[in-house]
Symmetry: D2
Subunit: 341 residues, 4 copies
């Protein structure tokens, strides 16, 4: 059964896997002190155009969010996120587990609205009893968002300026960053992401790796004894090479961007297929996740041939479902889908 | 300067203080094992009409919320509260500090709406990926609420039934419980509070004591080794007698209810003063906290003679302010206020 | 039954209680912003001879240890304590509850040995894998210790120097500080405590107050937004005046030192009574806690007339028990004890 | 340079890696719901001879320790471990991060002594104030230990019986379990491990996998909503297949045991080489880690050709170093070592 269930349904991109095979017998020190990690870090620094950035590798997305947020916030602080933000909904309370509040703000198309952020901060600091409240210490945004949408460069810039003004960090969750950067409808570059954020990560799990996220600290702001804090959270991989090798390959010959572009090309074709057949979209997504509204008959029929994710039940028996493409989606997959929609 | 700033501006009710003086030289064991605590617990059990209830004393409101919620939730669970709930806004993240999420639901007049609660739970359990979400393990409501409003018996009953159905505890924050029970517009009794909740507390700090809240577990559900968990949270008072003596006196000869009634009588008089002068109210509160909207001139003028709390800025230079009465409010205080409004 | 069970068996010193009565009707703002707290802070600053020290009040000992340690350590750090340290044994894991390890070092007479501390630190920093270990960020000592013993000025100085060298804070738990300072066998003054430590507290609960500990930060090192962090831990008292009034009285006309001296005088008399009758001591304590070894017959006989604490079972049916004096111990109490030993 | 630095210096066993290649293009659901995980779980159940055991996969050792311990302890409980236990020394406080104390007991050859455990528990429950202490809720042992030593079946049985008596769980950290089971000097089988423990894990990272540990709950005691708790700790792998595929291969045709045996064979040969040359051993280890004492000249000389781990500095310029073999150690590696020792 062909699957558009998510962008982590397959193993690794063949080149990544091949590199693991080739390097398998090399003896390396553990915990990220191997030569592959070093090489990968250098390549990532180059890709973002910042030789001084600190790069660290972690295993997965929730882990990365939890480690970054909890090591960068101070005791009195929480993190601001959109109500739909992954850390607020689908991480089982991983941020709260570390003792910090997720401060919910409203969202529009899955995005935090700069004006809302500004209002919240003005309200907060005008409140006489704000020292009985959680101080806003960081803003979390995902790019692409959980709904596949993207911030414009102007939006990023605005949010970044607000963060500077209120001395908060801006953290960009880039679990699907590649698909965002390769979208046909974005003016945001990797350099922009590095410039406007204080810390962000380049997602590997959903873009060709078996696992792994590359965290980038861009403002000389890596937490003190960061390795110790990673270890303390059970997030330090013994064979750090597993992450180093994969990212080294992903950042060789533009592989990361090429396979992201492939995912986008597949998404655009898929989108057109739905558009041509007058399917209704739940949201207009310029990236690899497409949210389509199916009626009962469609839901039943398509579900017999194709795997997808169920997002939300609407009235009238309609359902929002997600079809995700990725680096591994094939023309054949699309044809199978086309046949049934 | 006369103060209506809050209901904790004065020391203790004279009878409570006097009892502390009288018992001062009695030697007692520490940590709540003294005879005053025993006596107070028995009186509270009698007052709620449940000889089997477990009663424990803690020092303050935030501490009580944090201890109760974090010891009654299991690892995967969070607590549902109204956006305006004290634990969600003004406790500096005390619940999250213990590793648990506060799950925000909308509010109406500071109250959780049974129907909203039901919808949320239906949505939660219908979501295929809800095991990536925080399980709702408890519902937190405050009675009176942060806006002085009260749940009706029917509302309490509905919420309680929903909790039973979804196997969640119902926790009633009674920091101002006395003022709720003595309100002229309530059909909820202390017995009802005990019956519909799984755990609640009877606030002492705001109702005549120097400090102290009496927690009541009504369903044979006191957490195992609760004293150890209290100690672990730095919440176990060495001289537990300080709490025992005060609650013993508060539950002697109906003192708790009488002084609560006095607070309500003062509030009703004060309310009438504002009504008679056509002041606008932010919300209709039947308890000891009255939220009045002042224009700039009023704000300035009254503020020179009377202390009050600033709640929220509205447009047009208007401000929501809170005037709180309590067991310690005097006719003289009201006269001073009357002169200036 | 006469009790030497602990130094927190009675209420408050009459002067302290009287002051609570006198100030009871004064209206004050909450959360420690009242005038009594301000006055008490000024008096404490004067007593330690440091006008710039930051003083804050908390309710009890375990709470104070937990708040101080968890707000002053960074994420990668733990606190070093003697195996017998209160935080390591009798606080139900309150430090670990905040996410930090108590690093146990051996003890001698209940005290941390400077040489042991030094060795541990040299070992730690020589270990190649110490970034997989908890960094030592603070040293915790109690003075007097849990066994009533005292550090000499030289010992304090040595430990302080080691802390400076390794960039660790020195935290002195002064739950019974008064009895230490008034001991007949100490060369340590309150000024020394302030000078050699980075933070310490002056215990009120065991020295004349109903509750309350005064935390002193002596190196311009009060954590940022400390009130928020206190609130987050459920440790912020609404009626902060309860602490302010008590400490204001304790630091008026040397009351704190006088009543501590009384406790010591009583302890010395008691000690002599045991010495004269050839009782064996478990440890030589120069403060208000005396640890005596009783045989079965003595244990039985004395226990029928006098309350004491059981410390440890030794072989041969012998038991280590503690007799504690305090500001509230009377000559009459001593006579009752003398009759039966 | 030939390395005996650790047992995680190489990638994966070729068969494991090959299996990853073969399964790479198969589409699978995420988060451990894939068919490889199912198959691997079934094979592990069969290997331990318990069809009802619950098996779950996690990524690494510290993570596994932290997840298991923190989800199985109740709020008032801590975990007992030897002073040398990995969770007590080299996990950067990962257990304390979750709010639980590691209760240190002395060790002999890296092992917890049943008699010491018994004494501690008798002492604990005889202490009148034990409700101010951390309740012992679990015993943690590693098998093999951090010093390569092994518990005998009798020792395991004794510890298990003590745990049953005091209602504690017994958790066996099997990060190197294969090398323990294949040791020439053990009477402990995999079935014994399952029988005597309440939960244990089969280490993959150090025995042929790129990463991964298989947790086995043997007493119908998997924590409720365990997936949620894993997610909450940032430990849920999106591509759970990565773990499933590897363990499925490791438990096909006895691979796990065969490659463990190879590691042991290599260790025994290596050990003989040192014995034959009269090197002094720090401890007598029957598994894949050998601890040898080198003098300055040896340390220098061998270090130029061979990588090893530095364990501890002794007096007289001597150093304890660790030489670890594994599934990936070759005869050629041994020859290189032999040449230089």
């Amino acid at each position: 059964m062909v699957s558009f269930e998510s962008d982590y349904i397959n193993g690794a991109h063949p080149k990544v896997l091949n590199r693991l095979v080739q390097t398998n017998e090399s003896s390396q020190s553990g915990y990220g002190t191997d030569e592959f990690c070093e090489s990968a870090k250098a390549k990532i620094r180059k890709a973002i155009g910042d030789e001084k950035a600190d790069v660290e590798f972690l295993v997965g997305g929730t882990q990365t969010n939890s480690v970054i947020i909890s090591t960068m916030l101070s005791d009195d602080e929480g993190v601001i996120a959109a109500t739909t933000g992954h850390i607020n909904v689908h991480e089982a309370g991983a941020i709260e587990f570390t003792g910090h509040k997720v401060i919910e703000l409203g969202q529009k198309n899955g995005k935090l609205v700069p004006e809302d952020l500004k209002k919240y901060l003005e309200f907060f600091y005008s409140d006489e009893s704000h020292d009985h409240m959680v101080f806003p210490g960081m803003v979390y945004i995902s790019h692409p968002t959980e709904y596949g949408t993207l911030y414009s460069k102007n939006e990023l810039k605005s949010i970044s300026q607000i963060c500077r003004k209120y001395k908060m960090s801006l953290f960009i969750d880039g679990a699907r960053l590649g698909y965002g950067l390769m979208s046909r409808k974005t003016d945001v570059t990797l350099e922009d992401v590095a410039k406007y954020s204080d810390v962000f990560y380049i997602g590997g799990t959903k873009v060709g790796a078996l696992c792994g996220e590359a965290v980038v600290f861009t403002k000389n702001n890596k937490p003190k004894h960061f390795v110790t804090s990673i270890k303390k959270r059970g997030a330090l991989l013994a064979k750090g090479r597993l992450l180093g090798v994969q990212f080294d390959e992903l950042f060789t010959d533009n592989l990361y961007f090429e396979i992201s572009k492939h995912g986008i090309d597949m998404a655009e074709k898929m989108k057109k297929m739905f558009v041509d057949r007058n399917y209704e979209f739940f949201i207009d997504s310029p990236t690899n996740q497409q949210f389509v509204i199916l009626n009962e008959e469609q839901f039943e029929r398509i579900g017999q041939e194709i795997k997808f994710s169920v997002w939300e039940k609407l009235d009238g028996g309609r359902t929002v479902v997600r079809f995700a493409t990725s680096w591994s989606t094939t023309e054949q997959d699309l044809k199978a889908l086309e046949k049934v929609i």
